[in-house]
Every structure is written in C-alpha cells, then in structure tokens.
C-alpha cells in the first residue's frame, strides 16, 4: 500500500516536473490520492479532508517537490511527518502515583476492555513491579465477571468481585478500600461495555469515575472501528474527559485510521496498543509506527523491539549487523525461528516487516509452516546455510530430494527468503525515513 500510494503520487506528480511552481491546480490529483488512502484506512471523512488541506499548504510551501527526483516519495514524507506530529509527540506513561493508583477502563461492547484489563495488570506486575488488583464492575454481560476472574488467575493477579452486587459504583468504591487494606498499589477497574448514546449507562460510568477519582481513565477502542470512531470517542470524552486511549486488536490487518480520527478529535494520547489474546502482548503507542500503518507501510521497529525483548542483546546486535551487511543466512533464520515462535503470533510479526504484508496475506504462516522451512534448510549443507548465494539449480535439486519436497517449493522458499533479506537490509539502512531534510 505504501508502495502503491507512493507510486500513485509519483504518477500524479510526474506531469508537474518542469513546471516552475506547485499550484493548487497541479497538485489537486495528488491531494485526492492521499485523501483516498486515508479514507480507505478508515480515517474520518471530514478529518481526512482537513488533513489533506494542511498537506496541500505544506506542499505548496515546498518547492522541493518539483525539483525532487522522486516527488512522490517527498510528498509521502510530508504526509508521514504531518501524521506523526498529529498523533502526538512522545508515547506517554501512565500516572501511577497514589496508594493505590486507580485506573478506570471504559469503552463500547466488544472493544476488548476485559482482555486489556488483564494485559495491563500483567504489564504492571511484570514490567513495573507493581501489585495490581483487578476489579470486576461489569455486572451486566453474562459471565463477564468469570471472564476477568479467569484472566486474573492466568496472570496471578487477584480479582475483586461481588457476584451478588449489581451496583458497579459501590463495587468500585469498596475495591479501593480492599486494595488499601491488602497492600495493592494499583487498582484496575473493568467496566461494562456501553454505547455512547445509552444515557443511563453513560451516567453510570460518570458516577463511577466521580466516586473513585481515578488517576487515569482509559478509553478502549477497537482499531478496526470505522467512521463512527469520532462520535464515540467524543461522546465518552465529553462525559469522562479520559486521560488516554487504548487501541486493541491491532494484530489484524486493519489500517487503523480510527487512531488518527480519535487523536484529532479529542486530542488525548494513545497510551497502549494491544495485539492478540496472549496476555503479554501489550505495547506502548508509537505515533510513527501508526502513521506508517495508516499509510500501509510495515512496522520494522516493533518487529525489532519485540525481537529484542526475547533475544539477548548480543544476539540481537549480531542479527542487526548481519541484516545491515546483507549477510543474514539460513543459520540465522533457523536459529531465530524457535525464538520467534515464543514471541507470539507469527503472522502478526511478519506483517510488521514492510512489504511482507502482501506476501503473508496468502501465505500459510503458522507454526506448522516452519516445519517445512526447517526441513528444507536442514537438507542444505553447512556451507549453503551460511551462504545463500551458493544455491544453484543442482544444489536446489539435491535439497529437494533431501527433504522430499518438490523443487518448486524449494524455489519458492528461497525466493521468499531472498525478498525478506533484501527488505530487511533495505530497511535497516532506513533509506526512506532518514531522507535528508534538504537534499538539493
């Protein structure tokens, strides 16, 4: 998608070169393409319009586009910079002062509040060395309390619940007393999902907030949300004036334009992104990565970071060096596979690599896929594993026989490996994002 946006902009801008000035008229097509890309990513229609107006002004103020060899790329860079700025400077930490600190979780039905509550508790426990208490305030949805209890058990965090009590305000209040008495330092209050136009329910969440005076109220929103994200985010914000936003289900292939819409509308930072159902897959928000995602680019930084948290640093450095030198070989690949398996869902990891998105879409990437890959690699000689360039037709045929697979499968795998290697290499040099500010 990034490639195609860039390409399309290239096409739209090509006719301009040789002209002396960017004008509203000759830039109109490019602006339209950008707007289309944003709308296709679920950015709110009006916001996409306003946003592209800003882009237009920026572009008109920059003569460089006309002179640039690749005006499309320069245009994308302007869009990227603007997106990143809009989605807000640095990732912000949670305020956990007070004893206990109180975090209130709110959002629509099915946005992923309960799963996020579990993840946050786990994150605070393992990464921040806190002693969290989960509080079950969803007294409406069948088995919601059980759900939180099960999650609490999985991560070893106690859950405060009152099964008979139908008053969430009361439960929340009592939980804080309970936390004080039992030495918990963070209280995470999970609430029922509610629609922004459900007056009774919105009143209720406002009452809960009023009663417990949380340090942080977090609005949880499904990253697949469409145009309505703006309405909902605003309605919750009007009532709760929440401190931060949590984007869930980012392990899917949604472009996540809702993130931009929400930030633009309420101006509150996105504090966490949540991927997958494993309770240790919680990330802090990085505007630059989200911008890339909205424009359809991959997320190499998350990939490397996730890798680093699993690999030891020396190993990661070694890997990085090899990628930079374009020396990443089959041995490295195999030795990473097992570690990668531990990092969570394979496909979501692959999707973080720019350009891999399209490839993995139809590719059968699950843990079983690795069995095939391993069988191919293990049929290579040590020399071949260390130097992929060695592989010629004769060697490939021998490998095919060795692993009992069709030659096409060998070719396909090697081709994919090469592409991946190139992509990693290219990105490790950061040719696009580190473009000099004034290259002319």
């Amino acid at each position: 998608m990034f490639e195609s946006l860039s390409d399309r902009l290239e096409g739209a801008l090509k006719t301009l070169r040789g002209e002396h000035k960017l004008t509203e008229l000759n830039i109109a097509e490019s602006i339209k393409e950008i707007r289309r890309a944003l709308v296709a990513a679920d950015v709110n229609y009006k916001i996409a319009k306003e946003f592209t107006d800003t882009i237009k002004d920026k572009a008109l103020g920059s003569d460089n586009i006309l002179k640039s060899v690749k005006p499309g790329e320069l245009m994308v860079k302007i869009v990227m910079d603007e997106l990143v700025e809009l989605m807000g400077g640095k990732a912000e930490e949670l305020d956990l002062k007070g004893s206990p600190a109180v975090v209130l979780i709110a959002g629509l039905q099915g946005s992923g509040k309960t799963t996020f509550s579990g993840k946050l508790a786990n994150f605070l426990k393992t990464q921040r060395k806190k002693k969290p208490l989960l509080v079950a305030c969803d007294v409406y949805r069948p088995a919601a309390i059980d759900q939180l209890s099960v999650l609490g058990e999985q991560i070893g965090v106690p859950v405060y619940k009152e099964v008979e009590n139908k008053n969430p305000v009361e439960i929340a209040l009592k939980s804080i007393k309970h936390a004080q008495d039992h030495g918990f330092d963070v209280v995470i209050v999970d609430t029922a999902g509610r629609l922004s136009i459900d007056e009774d329910m919105m009143k209720e969440i406002a009452q809960i907030k009023e009663a417990i005076q949380p340090n942080e109220t977090l609005f949880v929103v499904d990253s697949m949300t469409g145009q309505d994200a703006v309405n909902t985010a605003k309605a919750f914000h009007d009532r709760l004036n929440y401190e931060g936003v949590v984007l869930t289900k980012l392990d899917g292939d949604t472009r996540g334009g809702a993130a931009l819409s929400i930030k633009y509308t309420v101006g509150k930072p996105i504090k966490f992104v949540s991927e997958g159902e494993k309770l240790d897959t919680l990330d802090v928000f990085h505007p630059d990565r989200m911008a890339q995602r909205i424009l359809g680019m991959g997320d190499i930084v998350s990939f490397v970071e996730r890798a680093q948290s699993q690999f030891d640093e020396a190993e990661a450095k070694r890997l990085e060096k090899k990628i930079k030198k374009n020396k990443f070989d089959f041995n490295d690949f195999v030795s990473q596979i097992n570690q990668i398996k531990r990092m969570g869902d394979i496909k979501s990891l692959m999707n973080m690599i720019p350009g891999m998105n399209k490839m993995t879409r139809d590719l059968d990437i699950d843990d079983k896929a690795f069995i095939k890959i391993e069988s191919i690699i293990f049929s290579m000689t040590p020399a071949e594993r260390a130097d992929p360039e060695l592989l010629n037709m004769g060697r490939k045929q021998r490998i095919a026989k060795g692993c009992g697979r069709d030659i096409h499968e060998i070719n396909m795998f090697i081709k994919q490996f090469d592409q991946m290697r190139k992509m990693m290499h290219k990105l490790s040099k950061g040719n696009m994002m580190n473009m000099p500010k004034k290259p002319f």
């Binding site: 289309r36 709308v39 296709a40 990513a41 679920d42 709110n44 229609y45 009006k46 629509l108 039905q109 099915g110 946005s111 992923g112 309960t114 409406y140 949805r141 069948p142 088995a143 919601a144 059980d146 759900q147 939180l148 209890s149 099960v150 999650l151 999985q154 629609l195 922004s196 136009i197 499904d222 697949m224 949300t225 469409g226 145009q227 309505d228 994200a229 309405n231 909902t232 309605a235 289900k249 392990d251 899917g252 292939d253 949604t254 472009r255 334009g257 809702a258 159902e277 869902d345 496909k347 979501s348 999707n351 059968d364 990437i365 699950d366 843990d367 079983k368």
Partner: protein
C-alpha cells in the same frame, strides 16, 4: 414516499433510529431538487452523496459504484417529479443490496427441512457472536422450535459460561464439553445431540478470531468439516457476525471467513449505536451474501430480521 411507508414498522424503526444522528436537511430532498429535470447530477451534489456514504462506512469502491448507478439511471430517464426521483435514488442503493437475488426474511421462521437445521456462527473477537446466538435461539423458541446451542468457543475465558447463561434465559438446550476442549468435537457432538433429541435447530458458537490468523481460520474450516461429518450437508447456514462499528476491515473479514467457511448469511450487530454499518453494502454486493439479521440492543428480543429499505433509510438520517 408512500411506497416506503408500508415497509416501516414504526416500532422497529424506532429501535434502529435511536441515536442515529439526525440532520436537519433531508439529503434525498436536496438531491432530488438538484437533479430534477436534468440528465446529469451536478458535482456538488455527488460530493455530498459521497460524503454521506463514506461517513456511513460504505467505503470508496462501493460509493463510486452507487454514484455510477445513480448517474447512469438519471442519464437514462430524466426526472421531473421530485418525489418519484426520491424513491428511485433509494431504490438504486436497495437494488445494490438486492442484486444477490435474495428477499429479506419476513420473520424468524426456518425451513421445515432439513431437520435438525444446523447453524454455525463465526466472526472476529468482540462482534457479539454469543449474544447473537442467544437472541436467535430466543426467536426460534418463540417460533415454537426446539433449539440447542453448542458451546464451541472453548478458548476465551468464560465464553462457555456466557452461552450457558443465555441458554438458561432462553430456556433451550445447551451442549458443552467445557473450556479448552476441541471445538470441532463440540460441534460434532452438538449436531449429534440435536439429532438424538429430535430437535429443530442447533446453533454452534465458535471462538472469535482475527481473519489474519491462518491457523485459527483453518481450525474453523475443520469445525465446519466435522459438522458435515456429523450430519451430511450441514451446516445449513454459516452466519458471519459483523460489528456495525467496524470500518473497511469488515470487507477483509468477509473475504477470509467466506474462504474458510462459505459464509451464507450476515448478521450486523450494534446498530443501536451511532455507527451505521454501511460497509455491509459493499460486502453483500461483492460476496453475494445476504444480510439476514441485525442486532439493535442488548436485551434478549433486540434482534430483527434485516430490511433493505429501512437500512438504506437509516444511512441518510
């Protein structure tokens, strides 16, 4: 206007209307005035139509398609009469939904055969699969059918309990093997249970899964296969549940779930909120899958059969 009146059951409409943002200007009136007597719709009006559709999550491709249809129709017959035009514009959009040659259901009645009638319910996380199953079971029960719900979400914490509570509310049969059991086995045995007890309907729940997770999608294919093994030709309906708040990603969901399980019907949930779920226009058109049910609230009776006209109306409110 009057031809639409008869489609409107005021009470049902009220549920759908609740919360839908109301704009002072009636979009259709405006559009009608602008095109009356002309053979071409002017740019400004099309822009506005585009904005209305995009804001309802209809998406670019489908919006373009709708605009083209309207342009073609207006080029063909010039319209003088605004009220006539008004309904024709709606009609074009409804037609898009109707191109898959299915009529809307009148009610929740099911075909007398096959018996048991086996339904499988699929979708991504948090769209409201279990809730929809509870409400469906309730409606079938009202129709005098005997129903079993199968707890095939054996993964998400407390999902089995959630379905159990629904079955108690409805007063229908419940089949479960507990948490962390093989969902394909649960599906297989739920069908067996329905056959053995001579029940009319079996509705099988599945765990929410993102359509990008190939191994989980493969699991879904396997569940469907095991249902077929249990009763040849089943499931008779595979319902993909879509959340009305979801944007363009729903198209990809429909594509992947259809590939994995040959989805035969859509259920659109959470239409009682401010989201309009316009993305289903494109999905229904592109994949030729009818939308059959809509969820309009958390209460047990807040499930309706889908009505094209009412839905299209709601996009423009």
């Amino acid at each position: 206007m009057s031809i639409f009146k008869k489609f409107f059951n005021k009470e049902r409409e009220a549920d759908l209307d609740k919360g839908l943002e109301k704009t002072k200007t009636n979009f259709f009136d405006k559009l009608s005035r602008a095109v009356a007597g002309k053979s071409k719709v002017d740019e400004e009006v099309l822009d506005e139509l585009e904005q209305v559709l995009i804001s309802s999550d209809v998406g670019l491709d489908t919006t373009v398609k709708i605009i083209q249809r309207i342009e073609a129709r207006i080029a063909r017959d010039k319209y003088l009469n605004t009220s006539e035009l008004n309904s024709i514009l709606r009609d074009e959009i409804v037609q898009l939904l109707a191109d898959n040659n299915t009529d809307d259901l009148d009610d929740f009645s099911l075909p007398a055969s096959p018996k048991p009638y086996i339904m499988m319910v699929v979708g991504v996380n948090g769209v409201g699969k279990t809730t929809t199953i509870g409400k469906l079971a309730y409606q079938f029960k009202l129709q005098g059918k005997s129903v079993v719900v199968g707890a095939g979400d054996t993964f998400r914490a407390a999902a089995v309990d959630q379905l159990k509570i629904w079955s108690d509310r409805v007063g229908c049969h419940f089949y479960s093997k507990g948490m962390n059991t093989d969902p394909a086995a649960v599906a297989y045995e739920t069908v067996q249970y329905a056959v053995k007890n001579n029940l009319d309907v079996a509705i099988i729940d599945t765990a929410g899964r993102l359509h990008t997770k190939i191994n989980l999608m493969n699991e879904l294919t396997k569940i469907k296969r095991s249902i077929d093994k249990s009763l040849s030709g089943a499931p008779h309906e595979v319902i993909l549940v879509l959340d009305a708040t979801t944007g363009q990603n729903a198209i990809e969901q429909a594509k992947q779930f259809t590939a994995a399980t040959e989805v035969s019907a859509l259920a659109l949930t959470k239409l009682d909120g401010t989201a309009k779920g316009g993305v289903v226009l494109g999905i229904s058109d592109q994949f030729k899958i009818p939308i059959k049910y809509i969820g309009v609230g958390e209460a047990i009776d807040k499930l309706q059969v889908f009505n094209k006209q009412i839905f299209v109306e709601s996009l423009f409110k």
